[in-house]
């Protein structure tokens, strides 16, 4: 269905030039290759400096959800959406626990993937395979939902002149081309541009909306009569949910395999530490800004449903563009930033899946393979995975999409293996494996039971299914460790 395009022809041309220029950056990454090794392809030769590392971490961790989802949530829920600022900050707090040691070990033992650490630490192929498969499912899910979002943005930007399927296919092709050309180097360099664009987009939109609509203080006055509930602090169930959300994100996002690859890719400890020290303040100038935009939106354009609230930033910009023509350029920046945010997340997840399949699955089945053979295999994997993801994103009926909501809840089940495994030498592979299996089973039972209409709450006692899974997971590990401790003592 064709509607009025959000972008003018000039805007569409600018966006097209930007998107196709990413292939040029991929090519530059290919020419900058120093050696034909897995470390060079998947970790950019372990030589990332502060600037590149920070921007690639930033662009990877802040996806399209930052620009679209967070402001939509603030529009619907008000100030309780500030939990997003806290949890994006908490991710860096999680790195304090495991990243310094993991980085040191990765340098010493040449880790490429999260599976390399698991295999080194627990010497269990079954555990490595289990964690790798959970990570691949979670990342695949991440790619799928982001590809679908990119399709909707392209349709809105072009008013349907580029269809949903065409948008997904063209952008996926661009991503897979630059990713397979130069691996992590190309991905990190494109992330740099995408990170700057994202930061610039958020900043300009925030400033414009603040100055044109009179800022948060004025919006809050209007909100007090329009949505008085926004002013209420969360009740006890809300506070439990707040805590549960922080737990899920703390353990889930911090173990993203593509984030762990960036830890391995740092040039030295100082570089990694400084990147984290900058990253920890980014929620205050990214997430918070988008939350304020959402709240201003609730005051200016009240009465939107859930789907409408997800477009609140676009609606505000469109509203402003009616009176101030210069604001239409902000629409170009916003849409480019949204596409950039999604692409930088998808390309990183794709590279991570490619490395997991190549290093942790194929590399274990064919241990004698040469580095160049593995890289070639990894590139083929990238193309196949992207092709599959594109097909699923276009073909899957809407009713099945609920299954793909499982992402962080699943991924956080591998966190004990990393958080505890890195510090506690007495932990056995068996205890971690059984903990993961039980935790994942509990999580899936709650989620699927709730969807299937059984008498199970999706968030029992206001706590996420994944957090209940984590409780079972950690408890299982604790019980097994105690049993083995007493057995040894006997």
């Amino acid at each position: 269905m064709d509607t009025q395009p959000l972008l003018s022809t000039g805007g569409m041309i600018c966006m097209g030039i930007y998107l196709f220029s990413l292939i040029g950056i991929g090519l530059a990454g290919r020419f900058a290759r120093k050696e034909n090794t897995m470390a060079d392809f998947y970790l950019a030769g372990r030589g990332m400096g502060v600037f590149v590392l920070f921007l690639t971490l930033y662009a990877t961790q802040y996806s399209g959800n930052t620009l679209i989802g967070f402001s939509g949530r603030a529009y619907r829920e008000g100030f309780t959406a500030l939990v997003t600022v806290t949890f994006m900050t908490a991710i860096i707090g999680a790195y304090l626990i495991y990243a310094p040691k993991l980085y040191r070990l990765s340098k010493k033992y040449n880790f490429i993937t999260v599976g390399d650490f698991i295999q080194h630490r627990f010497q269990s192929t079954t555990l490595t395979f289990t964690i790798t498969i959970i990570a691949i499912i979670a990342l695949g899910n991440y790619i799928l939902t982001n590809l679908k979002a990119i399709g909707f943005i392209i349709v809105a930007a072009t008013g349907g002149q580029v269809s949903f399927a065409q948008g997904i296919i063209v952008l996926s092709l661009i991503m897979v081309i630059y990713e397979t050309l130069g691996g992590m180097r190309s991905v990190a360099w494109t992330d740099m541009i995408q990170g700057v664009l994202l930061l610039l987009g958020v900043f300009l939109i925030f400033i414009t909306i603040q100055s044109e609509y009179g800022g948060l203080a004025k919006a809050s006055e209007q909100i007090q009569s329009l949505r008085p509930g926004f002013w209420n602090p969360p009740d006890w169930e809300g506070k439990r949910l707040w805590l549960s959300t922080i737990i899920i994100v703390f353990f889930g996002i911090s173990v993203y395999p593509h984030a762990i690859q960036r830890i391995y890719a740092a040039r030295d400890e100082k570089t990694l530490r400084r990147s984290f020290q900058i990253m920890i303040f980014m929620p205050l100038v990214t997430t918070l800004f988008m939350i304020i935009v959402g709240i201003v939106g609730a005051a200016q354009i009240p009465g939107l449903d859930r789907q409408g609230s997800e477009q609140i930033t676009l609606l505000l910009l469109n509203d402003l563009a009616q009176n101030i023509p210069a604001v239409s350029w902000l629409l170009v920046i916003f849409l480019s930033a949204a596409v950039a945010a999604i692409m930088s997340t998808v390309d990183s997840a794709l590279l991570a899946i490619s490395s997991l399949v190549t290093q942790d699955l194929y590399g274990k089945v064919k241990p004698g393979s040469s580095q160049s053979h593995l890289i070639k295999f990894g590139k083929i994997v990238s193309w196949f995975i992207m092709a599959g993801a594109v097909w699923l994103a276009i073909a899957l009926p809407q009713t099945i999409w609920r299954l793909f909501e499982i992402k962080l809840e699943l991924l956080c089940q591998i966190a004990p293996a990393i958080f505890l495994g890195i510090h506690l030498r007495s932990l056995s592979a068996k205890s971690i494996l059984i903990g993961i299996l039980l935790g994942t089973t509990v999580t899936l039972c709650i989620m699927i039971g709730s969807w299937a209409g059984l008498a199970i709450d999706a968030k029992p006692l206001g706590i996420h299914a994944g957090a209940w899974g984590l409780v079972v997971n950690f408890s299982t590990i604790g019980i097994f460790t105690l049993i083995s401790y007493y057995n040894v003592k006997k």
Partner: protein, 70 residues
Amino acid sequence: MTRIKLYTLSLLILLTTIPWFFSQSSDLSMGGFPAWALYTLAGTAFYGIIIALLLKKYWHLSSGEKEPGE
């Protein structure tokens, strides 16, 4: 400082960012934020500063650099 104290401290500060002690809505606000939201934001900023400092000062402790063998 031991590693367990370091991690416990960081987790405790994170827990205090949740507006546990606010149960009633009040007219008190600053810059458009209600008091409880401002508390959460200030707590998050404080948590960020503390983690940045801990990363600088205790990186080597967390990396287990002085542990014998791996």
